[in-house]
Amino acid sequence: MKTPYTLLGVTEQATDTQIKQAYLQKVRDSPPDRDQALFQQIQKAFETIKDAKSRLAYALFTIPAADFNALLSLAFRTEEPGKPLRADDFMSLLSAGLDDQTILAAIPYKKS
């Protein structure tokens, strides 16, 4: 679910300066001559949340996003950037992945 915040890659608590910096970076990454539609989306996103008043208007007049995936991610937060996988777990994953379906799909049929 793309919101102006996710599109610009900033949090809802971001300041005007942070939003402007993120916007400029996005414009540099996706200039209008490369992808006009994306550029317009970026521009619109910036206009929507560029200052406190526009952010308040966005919060007031937009149906709040019921983003279940975002909610779920809160339930499975782990330390960043994650811990290395133990060799035993790796071996267990190799075994667990080798199910009947995988075996049958491993060799495609060639035309005889």
């Binding site: 709040p64 909610l71 060799a87």
Partner: protein, 843 residues
């Protein structure tokens, strides 16, 4: 006998040919069982190599088809039948081994693995080699003993073991060295990628991700790659990825990540319900697992879900406390807006506004934003009131000032009164708030020009040009302000100041045409102050430069002379005669531009009409004889409407209607016949216009719809002799109006109090939201088409009739069947005899 023997053999040959053809056609049609049976029959009669081959193909293709349906045991038997019939090398031997692996037929697996050569493993069956490699390093190391020991595969298997030992013993250099020995074409290529990715994580998560996503979907290592991607991902990507894994993979990841019982339980619930995650289920999960999500996040999610799952409101209140009226109404308003129900949305927003004003008056930004939001879809009068109020809470909003100003600019009845009007007040406020704003300065210039304060207009224009030196409209406004001021100075005989003004105009670097206009003004200046003869020459030259068409030159000469209170004739003498002239399309276009120019200068209408008088015959003749396009004719009519020249408008509209017969031309015809005055507009014309309005709607002619609709509204405004405002103000005060009370009792008395209250409440809403004109139009729709128009007009002057009809509309809005028909009401209000008791059949 000999003949008989020959006959039998020939008969058998024919029979076999027929069978063979049948077998082939079954085979081609994909009916391999039937084809196989026929080939078996054929083989009973002769040992034909081709038939053996065909039969073998039937077995093979059936085996593959059944394997595709997970009927592996049957597939195995069929492949073995195939192997009996077909010559070497056998096809699908690798598939056959996979079927044996799935059915765990250990004895046969060993037999067939033992039959594989080194070339089979290293070259012929690369996919099988990859699969067997994975089996050997995970659950079936015993397979190794049956495989050719001299194969590259076996050598690579040693490297794999070396790498795994190094991984277990945490010896990165050794691990790296072992992996490097596995070339790109190795059966353990994907194993190498997996291990590389695992050891790179978390230090080089992106590179690890890249390695894992490159493993193809057919590879037996793909499921592990997916599991590792889930393990390595965080935030929102994690849940969708882990839900795609099988139970064992999920269990391992959950343990490796150290998730608790509750988290595991949630994951399993999500997995079970993955395809059935309704709004309700998500809402309930958010409440159930609040401890995992955090109370605030759960509440936010549930609040947002209420828009699509309003039934969750009770549970929401129970778990998070009651929503305040602001949040309740805000959600309803947003939902109504999403459903394009702006009427209800506005109502809910007003509730929000009321709540904020009463409970959070310090929240000024929110109040102002809400008012501006409601204003966007409100009627202009309500919108401007909201915008004005919003500035009490947030005084710096430029857009609001601009909208207010535009509203008063368009809605004040007489622009000439702007000097003392709301418009002027708001212009002053706006300029005080935004002294450097180009748009407000343009408003100020135009306002000053309208009140003939040309010097002030020039000052504003100069201020604007300081901010935006290349602003052409500002330059043009400054230019015309200088010339207008020069004209005033000439008129008041302050000749010593005129030259300075004209020079100021000339100094502005504008198009050559503007210089010629300045030259024209200089000509008049010379004519009046210095040398009449020389002045006249300059005037004539300038007029001819400005106008290619002599008709337009005449018009401009007349205009300029009249604006200086000079006799027109003197200036027309030097110009070519126009008696026999006709205006070309180009000439007419230029004339319309000239008229527009003078009209925008707020020149007195009488002056404009007087100047047009000189060329009126030419215009009339041109419209009659020239074949102007419909667009140009429309532009002509619009211009004549703007300057209210109804005589010419009548002439043009009549000819145009005869030529094109469209609603817009009928409108201009009817409108000009009434001189644009709804008071002079009869009921027949109203019905004609209403018919045209319908036609325009059908033809999607938005311009005609707007013009006709607006004129009909003005007609209704002009025809309110019974004081519609009073009816609306009183909102059916039954206690004080006995006749209304009688009417309600007579016509609607059979309804229950509760129903009447509902209708009354709806009526109040309609009264509040609808303009009287809109309500009248809505009411007219209920009347039978056969109703006499004169009768309608006469009935609409009867307030009780209006009330009755409004009640019918309110009931209709609510879907309430009152049992009162239009005929009942018309009969009740029989005007000849006055209102009478109504004999309801059910009384």
């Amino acid at each position: 006998m000999k003949r008989n023997l020959l006959g039998n053999s020939s008969h058998k040959t024919i029979q076999n040919k027929t069978l063979e053809q049948q077998a082939l056609s079954q085979f081609t049609a994909g009916r391999y069982k039937e084809a196989g049976d026929l080939y078996k029959d054929l083989l009973k009669s002769a040992d034909n190599g081709q038939w053996h081959q065909q039969l073998a193909q039937c077995y093979l293709l059936r085996a593959r088809a059944l394997a595709g349906k997970w009927m592996l045991k049957e597939a195995i038997i069929l492949w073995e039948n195939y192997a009996e019939q077909a010559p070497s090398p056998l096809e699908s031997q690798d598939h056959y081994i996979t079927w044996l692996l799935v059915t765990k037929n250990a004895a046969k697996i060993k037999t067939y693995l033992a039959r594989l050569s080194a070339a089979d493993l290293d070259e012929r069956y690369p996919e099988l080699a990859a699969l067997l490699g994975l089996h050997i390093i995970t659950a079936h190391p015993e397979f190794q003993a049956f495989l050719p020991q001299d194969s590259v595969f076996m050598m690579h298997l040693d490297f794999v073991r070396e790498a795994l030992t190094a991984y277990r013993e945490n010896q990165p250099d050794k691990l790296d060295a072992a992996l490097k020995k596995l070339p790109f074409r190795s059966a353990f290529r994907d194993f190498r990628s997996l291990v590389k990715a695992v050891v790179q994580f978390p230090a080089s998560a992106e590179q690890a991700h890249g390695l894992l996503t490159k493993i193809s979907a057919e590879s037996p290592y793909h499921p592990t790659a997916q599991a590792l991607l889930a393990y390595m991902s965080g935030k929102e990507a994690f849940v969708p990825l882990i839900l795609q894994l099988n139970h064992n993979q999920r269990r391992i990841i959950v343990q490796a990540k150290g998730f608790n019982k509750k988290q595991t339980e949630l994951l399993e619930t999500l997995h079970k319900q993955h395809d059935r995650l309704t709004d309700k289920l998500k809402f309930n999960l958010a409440i159930q697992y609040q401890s995992l999500f955090g109370a605030e996040a759960s509440q936010r999610f549930c609040y947002a879900s209420l828009a699509s799952y309003p039934a969750g409101r009770k549970d929401y209140d129970k778990h998070f406390g009651r929503l305040n009226p602001f949040d309740t109404n805000r959600l309803k308003a947003l939902q109504a807006e999403q459903d394009n129900n702006n009427y209800d949305a506005e109502g809910y927003w007003h509730h929000c506004l009321m709540y904020l004003k009463n409970h959070e008056p310090e929240n000024t930004d929110k109040i102002a934003l809400l008012q501006r939001h409601i204003a966007k879809k409100a009627e202009p009068e309500e919108a401007v009131a909201l915008l004005i109020d919003s500035l009490n809470y947030d005084p710096g909003d430029r857009e609001s000032y601009l909208k207010i100003l535009k509203y008063y600019d368009q809605h004040e009845p007489d622009p000439s009164e702007h000097a003392t009007s709301e418009y002027k007040r708001w212009l002053e406020k706006s300029l005080k708030q935004f002294p450097q704003d180009v748009e407000f300065l343009i408003f100020a210039i135009k306002a000053a020009r309208r009140s003939k304060a040309f010097k002030k207009a020039a000052q504003y224009a100069e201020a604007l040009l300081k901010i935006d030196p290349v602003n052409t409209p500002a330059k043009q406004l400054l230019f015309s302000s200088h010339l207008a001021h020069a004209r005033r100075l000439i008129k008041t005989k302050k000749f010593h100041l005129v030259d300075k003004e004209i020079q100021a105009a000339e100094k502005l670097s504008l198009h050559k045409r503007f210089q010629t206009q300045a030259q024209l003004m200089r000509g008049f200046f010379q004519f009046l102050s210095e040398d009449k003869k020389q002045g006249l020459i300059v005037i004539t030259q300038a007029l001819q430069k400005l106008n290619a068409d002599p008709v337009n030159a005449h018009f401009q000469a007349a205009m300029e002379a009249l604006l200086l209170d000079l006799p027109v004739a003197a200036f027309l003498k030097g110009l070519p005669a126009i008696k026999d002239q006709l205006l070309s399309e180009q000439g007419l276009t230029h004339l319309l531009q000239l008229i527009k120019h003078y009209n925008e200068q707020d020149v007195d209408r009488k002056t404009l009409h007087k100047a047009l008088e000189k060329i009126k015959p030419v215009i009339k003749k041109s419209v009659q004889q020239q074949d102007y396009s419909e667009d140009l004719s429309l532009l002509l009519c619009q211009t004549l409407d703007d300057i209210e020249h109804f005589e010419l408008l009548r002439h043009c509209a009549k000819l145009a209607q005869a030529k094109w017969q469209k609603p817009i031309w009928l409108y201009y015809q009817v409108y000009s016949e009434a001189n644009g005055d709804p008071d002079k507009f009869n009921s027949m014309s109203l019905l004609r216009l209403q018919h045209s309005l319908e036609q325009a709607r059908k033809e999607n002619d938005q311009r005609a719809v707007f013009l006709i609709g607006r004129f009909i509204e003005r007609y209704y405004e002009a025809h309110q002799p019974f004081g519609m405002g009073g009816i609306f103000d009183d909102a059916f005060d039954l206690d004080e109006d006995n006749s209304v009370e009688d009417m309600v009792e007579d016509l609607f008395g059979h309804l229950t109090e509760a129903v009447l209250e509902k209708i009354s409440a709806r009526l109040a809403v309609i009264m509040q939201k609808s303009s009287p004109e809109r309500l009248l139009q809505d009411i007219i729709k209920f009347l039978p088409k056969s109703t006499n128009p004169m009768e309608i007009i006469s009935l609409l002057q009867e307030p009780d009739f209006f009330t009755a009809m409004a009640m019918i509309k309110a009931a209709d809005d609510l879907g309430i069947k009152t049992g009162v028909s239009m005929e009942d009401i018309l009969e009740y209000f029989d005007m000849d005899n006055g209102p009478k008791q109504f004999p309801f059949p059910f009384f």
